[in-house]
C-alpha cells in the first residue's frame, strides 16, 4: 500500500491514514492509505471519524428489453446480489462481494456448475420444540426441511432450479399419499436442470406423486382419464390457446398414456407403481395429426418435439428469472440455443443469467419462500421454529402444496394478506435477533446514523433506495423526542433498533430482487 508514498526518509515521514470509503453499493469500507508528509509539517488526522451512512441508491428506470448477448456493464455487489436473489436465495453476509470479484461469467458458472458435493453448512434444523424434523411424516416439516436446504446449502442454484420445476410441474401433497413421495419427486426435479427437458418430462410422467396427483395411475384402457394428458400439453410443454393441440389430441394422448397403475394400501396409500401392458390401450391413436400405436414415451416425445414446444419452454423458463418478456431476437436466440443443445436445460439458464435484461431490467418480487430463506441467510439464522410453514402458507407459498397444477401465480404475490404474512416472517426472524426493550439491557446511546448503520449491518448491508433510507433516518430521528423520562431512554432506543430492522426487512428493497 505504501508504494506510492515510498518509505520514510530524513526529509519525509509516511503516515498511515484510515478513512471511510463508500463503494456506492450499500457498503462503506474502512480503507487505509499511506500519506507522505514533510517532516515538521502537520501530520494528517488519524481518526477516521464516525462511520457515515452508505450512499443510498438513486431510483433508476429499468432498461427496455435488450438484444441477445452477454451483459457488459459493471458487475459489482448490486449485480451479484440480484444474481444470488434470482438464481439462489439471496446472499449470506459477504457472499455478494465474493461473487462480484469473480466477474460475471465466473460468478454465474460458480453457481450453475459448482464443484464437489453439495453441503449443508451450519446447525441442523429443529422444530419449535427443539426436535429433529420428520419431513416424511410430520405435516409441514417437508416445508421446513426444504427451506433449511435453501438456507444452508453451499450450492443454492440447485435448490432454486428444484423450486422452478416444483412450480413448473406443480404437484401437491393434497392428493398424494405420502410426503415421502413428494420428497422423492423433489430429488428428480433437483437433478432435472442438469439433463434434457425430454428426460425430465419422462421422469415426471412416471413419477409416483404425479401419477397420483393427475390421475395417471387411474388412466387405463377401459376408462381413460384425461387429466395428465391435458396438463402435460397445457402447462408442462405446449401452452393453452395457441393452437398447439385440440381437445381430440388430449383424448387420444390420454389413451396413449394408459398403462400406469398402483395398488392401494390402507395404511400407506398408493404403493407399487408400475407399468402394466394389460392396462394399456394398444389401439392406434392420432396425436397432433400423427397416427400410431403410441405409448406413454411417445406422448412425451411428441410433446417436446412439437413445433410450438421450444417457444413455450423458453418463455416459461425466462419468466422465472426476468419479469419483462424478452425481445423477439432474444427469444429466437434462446430457442435456437435450446434446440442446438438437444433440449438441454442448463445452457439456456446460463444464457438467461448472463443476459443484459437480467441485470438492467426491472426488479421482480421474491417468491415468499425465497424471501423467507433470504431473510434467514442474511441474519445467519438456522431453522428453529415450525412457524415458517404457516407463515409460508399465509404468504401464499407452502412448499409441496402449490395451489394447483399450474403452480404459484408469480405475478400476484403481494396483497394485504400476504404482505401481512411477510411482515410476520420478519417478526419471527427477529425473535432471536431483536433487542429486548424492557430488560434494561440496551445500553447504546447511539446517534440516528449509528442506529441505522447498526440495523443495516445486522441484515448484511442491503442496499437501500434513497427514499427508503431518508424515511428510515427521519423515523429514527423522531424517536428521541418521545423520551421524556430517563427510564424511557433504553426501551425506546431498543425499540427504535427493532423498528429499523423490521422496516428494512419489510421494505420493497428486501422484498424485491
Amino acid at each position: 500500500m505504501a508504494t506510492k508514498a515510498g518509505r520514510s526518509s530524513r526529509k519525509f515521514k509516511i503516515y498511515r491514514r484510515r478513512r471511510w470509503v463508500d463503494g456506492g453499493d450499500g457498503v462503506v469500507h474502512l480503507r487505509t492509505r499511506s500519506i507522505r508528509r514533510r517532516r515538521g509539517q502537520k501530520p494528517p488526522r488519524k481518526d477516521p471519524g464516525p462511520r457515515p451512512l452508505p450512499r443510498a441508491q438513486k431510483p433508476r428506470h429499468p432498461a427496455r428489453p435488450q438484444p441477445f448477448g452477454v451483459y457488459r456493464g459493471p458487475f459489482g455487489r448490486l449485480e451479484a446480489t440480484r444474481l444470488l436473489n434470482r438464481a439462489g436465495f439471496g446472499p449470506a453476509p459477504g457472499q455478494a462481494e465474493k461473487l462480484a470479484r469473480m466477474g460475471l461469467r465466473k460468478a454465474v458458472l460458480s453457481l450453475t456448475r459448482p464443484k464437489g458435493q453439495a453441503k449443508l453448512i451450519g446447525p441442523d434444523p429443529v422444530d419449535g420444540e427443539g426436535l429433529a424434523l420428520a419431513p416424511y411424516d410430520s405435516w409441514g416439516h417437508d416445508h421446513l426441511w426444504w427451506l433449511d436446504r435453501m438456507v444452508r446449502t453451499n450450492q443454492p442454484f440447485k435448490e432454486r432450479m428444484a423450486l422452478v420445476f416444483h412450480d413448473w410441474f406443480a404437484t401437491s401433497n393434497a392428493s398424494v399419499s405420502q410426503q415421502r413421495q413428494m420428497i422423492d419427486q423433489y430429488w428428480t426435479l433437483r437433478a432435472g436442470a442438469y439433463g434434457t427437458f425430454d428426460d425430465l418430462v419422462l421422469k415426471i410422467t412416471r413419477d409416483p406423486a404425479m401419477l397420483q396427483w393427475l390421475n395417471g395411475g387411474e388412466n387405463n384402457k377401459w376408462s381413460p382419464n384425461e387429466n395428465y394428458a391435458r396438463e402435460l400439453m397445457e402447462l408442462f410443454t405446449l401452452g393453452a390457446d395457441r393452437g398447439a393441440y385440440t381437445e381430440n389430441d388430449v383424448r387420444e394422448a390420454a389413451r396413449a398414456l394408459t398403462g400406469w397403475r398402483y395398488d392401494w394400501d390402507d395404511d400407506l396409500g398408493a404403493i407399487n407403481f408400475r407399468y402394466d401392458p394389460e392396462f394399456h390401450d394398444d389401439d392406434p391413436k392420432t396425436i397432433f395429426g400423427k397416427k400410431g400405436g403410441w405409448g406413454w414415451k411417445d406422448v412425451c416425445r411428441l410433446c417436446v418435439t412439437h413445433r410450438l414446444h421450444a417457444s413455450f419452454f423458453v418463455d416459461k423458463l425466462w419468466s422465472y428469472f426476468v419479469p419483462a418478456a424478452p425481445s423477439k431476437g432474444t427469444r429466437q436466440a434462446l430457442i435456437r440455443l435450446y434446440l442446438k443443445n438437444g433440449r438441454r436445460i442448463l445452457p439456456v439458464v446460463e444464457a438467461i443469467l448472463q443476459h443484459p435484461d437480467f441485470y438492467r431490467g426491472p426488479p421482480m418480487v421474491k417468491p415468499p419462500v425465497v424471501f423467507n430463506a433470504s431473510l434467514l441467510r442474511a441474519l445467519g439464522l438456522p431453522i428453529q421454529t415450525d412457524a415458517w410453514t404457516w407463515l409460508g402458507d399465509g404468504a401464499g407459498q407452502q412448499l409441496f402444496l402449490p395451489p394447483n397444477v399450474a403452480g404459484w401465480d408469480d405475478e400476484r404475490w403481494l396483497d394485504t394478506s400476504t404482505v401481512r404474512a411477510r411482515w410476520l416472517m420478519v417478526t419471527y426472524a427477529l425473535d432471536s435477533r431483536h433487542h429486548d426493550a424492557w430488560d434494561d439491557s440496551y445500553r447504546e446511546r447511539e446517534s440516528t446514523r449509528e442506529a441505522v448503520n447498526r440495523a443495516l449491518a445486522r441484515l448484511g448491508w442491503p442496499a437501500l433506495r434513497s427514499d427508503h433510507q431518508n424515511e428510515l433516518v427521519a423515523m429514527a430521528d423522531r424517536i428521541p423526542a418521545y423520551v421524556k423520562d430517563d427510564w424511557q431512554r433504553r426501551p425506546y432506543l431498543a425499540m427504535r433498533q427493532n423498528a429499523l430492522l423490521q422496516l428494512i426487512a419489510s421494505s420493497p428493497d428486501f422484498q424485491l430482487s
Binding site: R230, D241, P402, P403, R420, L430, N498
Partner: protein, 451 residues
C-alpha cells in the same frame, strides 16, 4: 379408504407467465394512478358501532364528531347493496347439485354416480331435477323463494381449461387479455379512492374478479386477527407504521415496485380499519366449515356498517372431482349449502337481508358422462345460483336435457354468464352494464329480483 383426487384446487395460475396463454396476464400490473394516500388528513377513531356492539377503529376526517360519523355509517349501511360472490373452485359437478333424475340417459351416463331412487328433494320449478340430498340448506331457501337458479349457464365454445374458463368468468368477457375483473371494473366506476374494503376477498390472495384498474381493494383471510405484530411497542410503533405506510405511496419506476407499494399501502389501511375488530357473537349457529366461518365474519362486518360493496370468497371443497367424486362432493355440497343457509339466517337476524345478494358460480360444469374412476371430467354448462331475500326465486333458462349434448358431449347452456352479470349490475347494483361488460347490449336481461 379411497381418496378423492383432482387435478387440483384451482385458483388463478402462473400459467399466465406463458407468453401465449395470456389469460389475465397483467392483472397484477394494474396502473395504480397513485391517488392521494388514503388516510391522509384522517385520524383513526375508535368507537362502538351501535347495532352490533362491536369495537371498531375507522378512519375519518380529524374533527368529525363521532356521533355524526356513526350516522354516516348508518346511512351507508342502508343504501349500499352488497354482492357476495361464492366460487366453487375446480369446476363443480352441478349435475350432482341439481341432478336431472327424470331425464332420459341420466342412469346410462351416470351408472355409478346417479342419485338413488327417491333420493334428494324435487326441484319445485322442474320436478325432473332433484336437489342433492346434502343440499338441504339451499333447497330450503329455494322453497322460501330466495334462490334464483340458472340450471345451465355458460357461453358458446366452452373452454375446458380451468384457468381460461375461470378467467372468462372473472373478467366477464371471453378475452384472455383482459386485465380487470368484472366487479373490479364496477368498483373503478363507483368506488372510492380511500376504501379498500369496498372490494374484499375473504382469502389470502385477491380474487381476480375484484381486480381494479385504480381503486383500492383488499384481501383479508380472517377478519378478527388482522394485525402486524412486531417487537416494537407504542409510541415507537406509531412512528414505525407511519414510515411503513409512507413506503406504500412513494414513487415507483417498475411494475414490481408499484405492486409492492400498493400492497403495503392497502395493508396499512386494513390494519388500521380492523385493528380492534375482535371476537364477535354470531346470532345464529354456523356449520364448522371454513366458508361458514368466513361468512359469519362477513355478516359481522356488514352488521358493523363496514363499507363493503363486492365480496369474493371460495367455498369449501375440491370440486375438480376426476375420481372418487362422491366422497369429496357430498361433504363439499353440505358444507357450502349449510354455510349459505346460516349466512342468510344471520343476515335476517341482523335485518340486513335486503342489502345482500349471494352469487354462486364455478368455472364450468362437468361432463354428463362419468369417467371410469367414479369421477367426472371437465365439461361446459353448469349451475349458478343467486341467493337472497330479494332474489326472484324464478329459474333463468331451462335444463337442456341429456339427449342433445354439444360436440364434446357436454351440456349445452341455456343462459349466458355475461347476461347474469349485466342483470346483476343493472338490477341489483343499479349501474348501466354497458361500460362494464363488453358487448352488454347483445345479452338478454333476465329478471333476477322480486318486483
Amino acid at each position: 379408504m379411497t381418496r378423492s383426487r383432482c387435478c387440483s384446487n384451482y385458483t388463478r395460475s402462473s400459467l399466465f407467465r406463458s407468453a401465449a396463454a395470456r389469460a389475465g396476464d397483467g392483472l397484477p400490473s394494474i396502473e395504480p394512478g397513485m391517488p392521494v394516500p388514503a388516510g391522509t388528513g384522517l385520524t383513526r377513531r375508535g368507537f362502538i358501532a351501535g347495532a352490533a356492539g362491536l369495537a371498531l377503529a375507522v378512519y375519518a376526517a380529524g374533527k368529525t364528531p363521532l356521533p355524526l360519523f356513526e350516522d354516516g355509517i348508518a346511512q351507508a349501511a342502508q343504501s349500499d347493496r352488497v354482492i357476495v360472490s361464492i366460487f366453487l373452485d375446480g369446476g363443480a359437478d352441478t349435475m350432482s347439485l341439481l341432478a336431472p333424475v327424470g331425464h332420459a340417459r341420466y342412469h346410462e351416463l351416470r351408472p355409478v354416480l346417479a342419485l338413488g331412487e327417491g333420493e334428494g328433494t324435487p326441484f319445485s320449478e322442474d320436478p325432473s331435477l332433484h336437489w342433492h340430498p346434502a343440499a338441504t340448506g339451499i333447497s330450503q331457501l329455494h322453497a322460501e323463494g330466495k334462490v334464483t337458479v340458472f340450471p345451465a349457464v355458460g357461453y358458446d365454445d366452452a373452454n375446458q381449461s380451468h384457468f381460461t374458463s375461470r378467467h372468462f368468468w372473472e373478467v366477464g368477457e371471453l378475452d384472455t387479455d383482459a386485465r380487470t375483473g368484472w366487479m373490479g371494473r364496477y368498483l373503478d366506476l363507483v368506488g372510492s379512492n380511500d376504501n379498500p374494503l369496498q372490494g374484499l376477498s375473504l382469502s389470502n390472495t385477491l380474487a381476480p374478479a375484484l381486480a381494479t384498474r385504480d381503486k383500492p381493494v383488499a384481501a383479508v383471510e380472517g377478519v378478527t386477527d388482522y394485525d402486524l405484530w412486531s417487537w416494537v411497542d407504542e409510541p415507537v410503533s406509531d412512528e414505525m407504521f407511519k414510515s411503513f405506510k409512507r413506503m406504500g405511496s412513494m414513487k415507483s419506476e417498475s411494475p414490481a415496485l408499484r405492486d409492492s407499494r400498493r400492497a403495503i399501502r392497502s395493508t396499512n389501511i386494513i390494519r388500521e380499519s380492523l385493528a380492534s375488530f375482535g371476537e364477535f357473537e354470531a346470532p345464529v349457529v354456523y356449520p364448522d366449515a371454513r366458508l361458514g366461518q368466513q361468512l359469519s365474519g362477513l355478516a359481522a362486518l356488514l352488521g358493523a356498517g363496514m363499507p363493503l360493496r363486492c365480496v369474493s370468497v371460495t367455498a369449501d371443497g375440491a370440486y375438480d372431482t376426476h375420481s372418487a367424486q362422491k366422497e369429496e362432493l357430498d361433504g363439499a355440497i353440505k358444507a357450502t349449502s349449510d354455510s349459505i343457509l346460516a349466512f342468510q339466517r344471520d343476515l335476517e337476524a341482523r335485518g340486513l337481508q335486503d342489502r345482500v345478494l349471494v352469487q354462486v358460480w364455478s368455472e364450468f360444469g362437468r361432463r354428463p358422462e362419468e369417467n371410469g374412476s367414479a369421477g367426472t371430467d371437465h365439461g361446459a354448462a353448469g349451475v349458478s345460483l343467486l341467493i337472497g331475500s330479494r332474489a326472484s326465486g324464478r329459474m333463468v333458462g331451462e335444463f337442456p336435457g341429456l339427449v342433445n349434448l354439444d360436440a364434446d358431449d357436454n351440456l349445452r347452456h341455456t343462459s349466458d354468464f355475461r347476461a347474469m352479470y349485466c342483470s346483476l349490475l343493472e338490477q341489483w347494483m343499479g349501474h348501466d352494464a354497458a361500460p362494464i361488460i363488453p358487448g352488454a347490449s347483445r345479452f338478454a336481461r333476465p329478471t333476477l329480483l322480486k318486483p
